[in-house]
């Protein structure tokens, strides 16, 4: 029992202090974990086992999907795919109030359904949409807020790197099941944003500049967007149909996006090293974080801290509802200073065993956790999507935060639904026999 107290103190204290002084998140997790390992196993064994966990923690074919989806996102970002999806979104929601804002939301959802990166969506879609909205008299803060709030929908709508990280952290939940489970909550994310835009538009009738488009135009933009949308069929259909694994699908996505980029003449061979290099650097940071987190999850299994928390909690309440609520609030708060990936890596090994004791399905839990933590990527101070969104719209972060508040409220309302209505997550994968 001494070990448990010591390890808990080192982990908690070490992580908080290191994060506050600005050490890399990976080191803030890795160093206290390695110290705990050394306290339990001795210096030599602790160091060796930590190094072994770092390596074996990322020695998983499933994880290769992360660099591939990042790369595919990078290629799409440069490859003319965003433009065609924006055009399609524009003719689809062009007749609604505040049409350009609705277009932005829908374009982010469409982009998200072919890529798994909220930053790529916020950058690619925002860069095109922000100047158009500025010309039509949209408030710049509102424009940026709409883009920022809707961009993370693509991390819940598959493909999604966060869901792959969760699949690994949870000890092998099916990626196919998680992907199918993400569709409805991800679409609800977009719908929540559209609802906020709709209310905003009612107060701003001057934005009612419907973009009328003919049936022919609709057909033409759809045909132009079709090759990009086919990617969804290839990637998700390929996984669900069992033709290839999620990792293989992500490699196919890279090849496909590349072919489209060449076809659209948006990418040249000489651009490739730079795109590859940026994707490698980005994914390395994520993979390193996953590696060091597996030192932490080993310490957790070794000392049985999660079981201890679960037992304490079980003595306190036997209500699934209360436990879910506690976890939801903790994750929402933790998401303010932290990004989604580290939060998933830290809290899955602690929360999932508890959730399972209460009979919560790991797929449902993963979607609830991912949805919850996607709110984290737009909540400052650690909010990369917010920063990118503000930058491409040419406004200060401070003027976006206020405009984001209604979106936050709407998203938390949907989060409650996703948390307490498991069917929203489990119905679709059940339909495809993936549970």
């Amino acid at each position: 029992m001494n070990d448990v107290a010591l390890v808990s103190a080192v982990m908690l204290g070490g992580m908080v202090v290191l994060m506050l002084i600005g050490a890399p998140i990976s080191i803030s997790i890795g160093l206290p974990s390695a110290i705990s390992m050394i306290l339990v196993l001795g210096l030599e064994n602790g160091a060796t086992t930590s190094a072994q966990r770092m390596f074996t923690g990322v020695n998983s074919f499933a994880l290769l999907a992360i660099p591939f989806f990042v790369l595919a996102g990078g290629i799409m970002n440069n490859g003319g795919i965003a433009t065609r999806l924006i055009n399609l979104a524009k003719v689809l929601v062009g007749r609604t109030p505040a049409p350009l804002a609705q277009t932005n939301v829908l374009a982010n959802m469409l982009f998200g359904s072919v890529s798994g990166s909220a930053i790529a969506a916020a950058a690619a879609v925002g860069t095109t949409m922000a100047p158009m909205q500025a010309r039509e008299g949209y408030d710049k803060g509102f424009t940026a807020a709409t883009n920022v709030a809707s961009a993370p929908s693509g991390m819940v709508i598959p493909p999604s790197n966060l869901l792959i990280v969760y699949a690994l952290a949870s000890g092998g939940t099916s990626v196919g099941a998680l992907f199918m489970a993400g569709y409805i909550p991800g679409i609800l994310w977009g719908v929540a944003c559209m609802a906020v835009v709709w209310f905003y538009a009612r107060k701003h009738p001057e934005l009612k500049a419907p973009v009328r488009s003919s049936l022919g135009e609709l057909g033409r933009t759809f045909v132009q967007a079709l090759p990009s949308l086919t990617l969804v069929v290839v990637v998700i259909g390929g996984i669900i149909g069992g033709f290839f694994t999620a990792t293989e699908a992500s490699a196919i996505a890279v090849v496909y996006a590349l072919l489209l980029g060449f076809l659209y003449r948006a990418i040249k061979i000489k651009d490739l090293p730079h795109i590859l290099y940026n994707a490698a650097r980005t994914s390395s940071v994520v993979i390193f974080l996953i590696g060091v987190s597996s030192i932490m999850s080993f310490v957790m299994s070794f000392t049985k801290i999660p079981q201890l928390i679960a037992e304490t909690l079980l003595g306190f309440t036997d209500s699934k509802f209360v436990v879910l609520l506690i976890m939801m609030v903790v994750l929402l708060i933790i998401g303010i200073p932290l990004d989604a990936t580290p939060a998933i890596l830290i809290f899955t090994p602690i929360f999932l065993p508890i959730a399972m004791q209460y009979g919560i399905d790991p797929v449902h839990f993963g979607i609830m956790m991912t949805f919850n933590l996607c709110i984290a990527v737009i909540s400052p101070p650690s909010a990369p999507v917010l920063f990118v969104g503000a930058q491409v719209a040419g406004v200060k972060v401070e003027s976006v935060i206020g405009r984001l508040m209604p979106f936050f409220l709407a998203l938390v309302a949907v989060l409650l639904l996703v948390t307490f209505v498991p069917a929203l997550s489990l119905w679709l994968p059940g339909l495809f026999g993936l549970l």
Binding site: I21, A23, P24, I25, L31, F61, R281, S382
Partner: protein
């Protein structure tokens, strides 16, 4: 794109250390790009052999995993070199310059401790222990594959010392951070 994070204050003649760093940067970037391209080819090949040739490759998945790990572990050292690793710098930036310098040094020392004790030393012990363990499909021992950890640790150590020296130099202007569009989504 912040290709040259140091260009703003670079002196007329870069130091030996800085010249070595740019050489190392170039070598590591080339390795990263090549490994990543290889990775795409390997996994595409795997799909092709199974679905089209009906003669599935047995080594491609195993090899792809190790290429991926080496790519990631080399990648993290350059990311650290370019200060592209992710940290919560919100509080540090609010601190006065002198305090920023102290906090940055402590953060570097923490990272250095991890790199030296876990990655270089622990990684070396782990590789040594598994040097005779064969791989079922590749003609390489597990220990050689495990060397990625200590090698990455050595590279990280170099970049950390480089940054430490710059933080200690009289020209210190406070915490640097890279542009938002180069930011890493976690």
């Amino acid at each position: 794109m912040s290709e040259h994070p140091l260009s703003s204050e670079s002196a007329p003649r870069p130091s030996v250390l800085a010249r070595f760093k740019s050489l190392l940067d170039m070598v590591l970037r080339t390795i990263c790009v090549s490994l990543f391209a290889l990775l795409v080819v390997l996994v595409t090949w795997q799909v092709f052999t199974r679905l089209v040739l009906s003669n599935p490759s047995i080594w491609s998945e195993e090899l792809a995993r190790y290429v991926f790990i080496w790519l990631s572990l080399i990648g993290i050292s350059i990311a650290t070199g370019e200060k592209a690793d992710v940290a919560i710098d919100y509080f540090v930036q609010k601190a006065p310059l002198a305090a920023q310098r102290v906090l940055e040094i402590v953060a570097y020392l923490a990272t250095l401790t991890f790199a030296l004790v876990v990655m270089v030393w622990g990684g070396y012990l782990n590789a040594a222990q598994t040097m005779h363990q064969l791989n079922p499909v590749l003609p390489i021992s597990a220990g050689v594959l495990y060397l990625a950890v200590p090698i990455s640790g050595v590279l990280l150590t170099f970049y950390l010392i480089y940054h430490l020296i710059r933080t200690l130099s009289p020209g210190y202007t406070g915490l640097e951070h890279i542009a938002a569009e180069d930011g890493v989504e976690l």
